[in-house]
């Protein structure tokens, strides 16, 4: 008579362990992979473009998507190669990434954090994407960055300008090419001083979420350092539409400057309505009333029409720059789509190429290899001059543009003009700067 080696307790224990193993999402299991999440199998590698295709930032999202598709074409050897020809690194040969053809899936964040996370999760779990790229809104970027950190994939953020993205919410698996609120303040300050002097009374209208808060803090700090006084900061709900109730109190507040910490449709509406209330025709404290929009985009400027004329702001990049990288990208994008790319499109295109190059240099898709390749990586030829990804917080440092609404546009794309290219040294800050304090970059997570 044979004796069974299985005890009841042993079977239960084994079953529990096996069950727990099966219950772990596929993307967290190492089996079948090379020790990291969604290690590419076969001759292709898949990346996920998670952008707003509906909702208030949909136009930015759709432009990001155009640029991302262009980047994939270039990586796979189609088209004219765009910025791959001007990039200081020469590892990208047009044969995909590490010889694997690049495929992509797209998701719609709807500019909502929960929807964006669900979309990214689906890309990681169902589509087995190795990297997530894109997005508009810092709330969304921070949410998706957290998810990618947990899942063990790389997140190359799109349009996110809050200090928190690479400040208190920074993550080892996340990288931001776009500039931030602090940099906008540092770039705008000297120009505003030259243009409007040292004695201004500033009234802020601020979008009530992480981006608005940190931009307001940055711009207030920068202008107060000039000697300006912040009269009031009023938080406004995102998507308020009619800002008249918030604008009317400005008329009798004693302020001579309105700073709109708004973006997208909110900025178009609040600026238009501020001008309808006659703010720019007023004289207060013996000065012409002025309006400042610290963060600009071409799409917003087009939406605001003539209201934007003469209004100062800042940008990460603009298609009118004359360096070789910009010219190559504008040519590729313009010939394919018939209009110049936006700043959001530029960032997402560059992020896709930077990721691909980092994988090539690391020789692996392993997120920890990619993190190591991107940290303290210096490069050029991507439209912003000499640029580096700081290892301490994964923030890109490069020149920042101060812009002004074109006074006399000559064509439909002539909405903004470059006032100054602020040198990188002027917008740099220490990793432990108080506006970026807190949080922990942590360790890279390969997900296995």
């Amino acid at each position: 008579m044979s004796k069974s080696n299985f005890s009841r307790r042993g079977v239960l224990k084994t079953g529990a362990i096996a069950g727990a193993g099966l219950a772990v999402p596929t993307y967290l299991r190492a089996d079948g992979h090379a020790g990291f999440t969604n290690a590419p199998q076969g001759s292709t590698v898949k990346i996920g473009f998670n952008v707003p295709q509906t909702g208030p930032y949909a136009e930015e999202g759709l432009d990001e998507l155009r640029a991302q598709e262009l980047a994939v074409e270039h990586l796979n050897g189609m088209g004219d190669g765009g910025m791959m020809n001007t990039f200081s690194e020469k590892n990208l040969k047009g044969n995909g990434i590490l010889g694997k053809k690049v495929e992509f899936v797209t998701g719609d964040t709807q500019t909502k954090s929960d929807v964006a996370r669900a979309s990214a999760q689906s890309m990681i779990q169902k589509d087995e994407c190795i990297m997530i790229n894109g997005g508009s809104s810092s709330g969304v970027a921070i949410a998706v960055q957290g998810l990618c950190q947990e899942a063990g994939v790389i997140f190359m953020a799109g349009l996110t300008h809050s200090n928190d993205t690479t400040g208190k919410d920074k993550k080892a698996n996340g990288f931001r090419h776009f500039f931030n609120g602090y940099m906008s303040g540092a770039a705008l300050g000297p120009v505003l001083e030259k243009e409007y002097g040292n004695e201004r009374q500033a009234y802020h209208l601020t979008a009530d979420y992480t981006w608005g808060w940190t931009q307001q803090e940055s711009i207030a700090a920068s202008t107060e350092a000039l000697g300006w006084n912040t009269v009031q900061d009023v938080r406004t709900p995102v998507g308020a539409g009619d800002f008249s109730s918030y604008i009317a109190p400005i008329l009798n507040s004693g302020a001579d400057t309105l700073i709109l910490n708004h973006y997208g449709g909110d900025m178009v509406n609040s600026l238009t309505q501020a001008i309808q209330f006659g703010l720019r025709d007023k004289q207060v404290n013996g000065k012409d009333f002025t309006i400042i929009v610290p963060l600009y985009s071409e799409l917003m400027a087009a939406g605001a029409g003539s209201n934007i004329q003469g209004v100062f702001g800042s940008m990460n990049w603009n298609w009118q720059l004359q360096d070789e990288g910009t010219k190559a990208f504008v040519k590729s994008f313009g010939e394919k789509y018939g209009f110049p790319p936006s700043g959001a499109a530029h960032t997402c295109y560059v992020q896709t190429l930077l990721y691909a190059d980092a994988v090539e240099r690391a020789g692996t898709f392993n997120p920890c290899g990619v993190v190591e390749a991107l940290e303290d990586f210096d490069f050029d030829g991507m439209g912003n001059g000499p640029t580096s990804y700081r290892g301490a917080d994964h923030q890109c440092f490069k020149d920042v543009l101060v812009m002004k609404g074109t006074e006399a546009p000559t064509n439909q794309f002539d909405t903004l003009e470059i006032v100054e290219v602020t040198p990188r040294a002027q917008v740099e800050y220490a990793p432990d700067h108080p506006m970026f304090a807190g949080g922990d970059l942590g360790e890279c997570n390969p997900g296995a």
């Binding site: 509906t54 136009e59 008249s244 109730s245 918030y246 109190p249 238009t272 309808q276 209330f277 064509n411």
Partner: protein, 343 residues
Amino acid sequence: MDAFILQILNGLDKGSAYALIALGLTLIFGTLGVVNFAHGALFMIGAFCAVTVQKLLGLSFDVIDPTQTDFLGNPLKVAIPYVEAWFGPAIGGAIQDWSVPLAILVVIPVMFLVGWAMERGLIKHFYNRPHADQILVTFGLAIVIGEIIKAFFGANPIQTPAPEVFIGTVDVGAWLGMDPGSVAYPTWRMVYFFFSAIIIAAVFAFLQFTTFGMVVRAGMADRETVGLLGIDIDKRFTLMFGLAAAVAGMAGVMYTPILSPHYNIGMDFLVLSFVVVVVGGMGSLPGAVLAGFLLGILQSFASMNEVKALIPGIDQIIIYLVAIIILLTRPRGLMGRKGVMED
């Protein structure tokens, strides 16, 4: 005092938009008994009629200007609007400048047709269904219309400025005997307020002083009896749906210089307008107008910095707070009729 008057004006302006939408909404509910969640979409279609008229008047042909280059370095194509080519730059420019008022002439027949098609094509099939079904189908319809608009016009707001003559402010302070310039209010917002007052008065006059309106009011009170008298009340109610759509459409057209239209603008107004209808009393036309202005003014005052300093966040909840208080104290709303939504 200046700030107080400004917020009153703001409230009247907001309230006139709420009242116009709520008026159509409650008209449809009072006549057809349908809870129309697509009514905000009608406001949006009206707004995009203005955009369409602006685009049509801006249709142009290209002329190559060899002296300039485009962003790719090719010779620049300069767009010449047909109206400027046909009528000269001065008259052509003026026609384009007046695109929003001109859109009113277009929006009335268009919205009548849209309302008629919506009622005959979809909503009539839901007359005898529960209100929940009506809400679901009309809400779905609103989403579909929004997506169609987005497919045609994109997702970004589109600037639709008022005619040049209405740009700037009106010196309301001088009108009230105060210091000149102490209370300045945007001219177009004043135009919007007076326009709304005229439309509201016209709708009431139509219902009060015409035979058609009398029959409709009789039908609202007792549909069955009016039907037994041999009057085709359904046909009249269909026309009322068209009228409500036209009112919403006109409200949308005139609002475009205040708020640049985008594909979601209808949804933004829909929820508030429903609260207005509920506060005013389901099916009550004067109630909708009264509640529209009341909530508009309260919302404006709640946005004042002094008020928000006392109760943070009050500007976001004031409308719903008032709705709760009114429904607790007057369950039928301010001017609601007995029996409506109570079966």
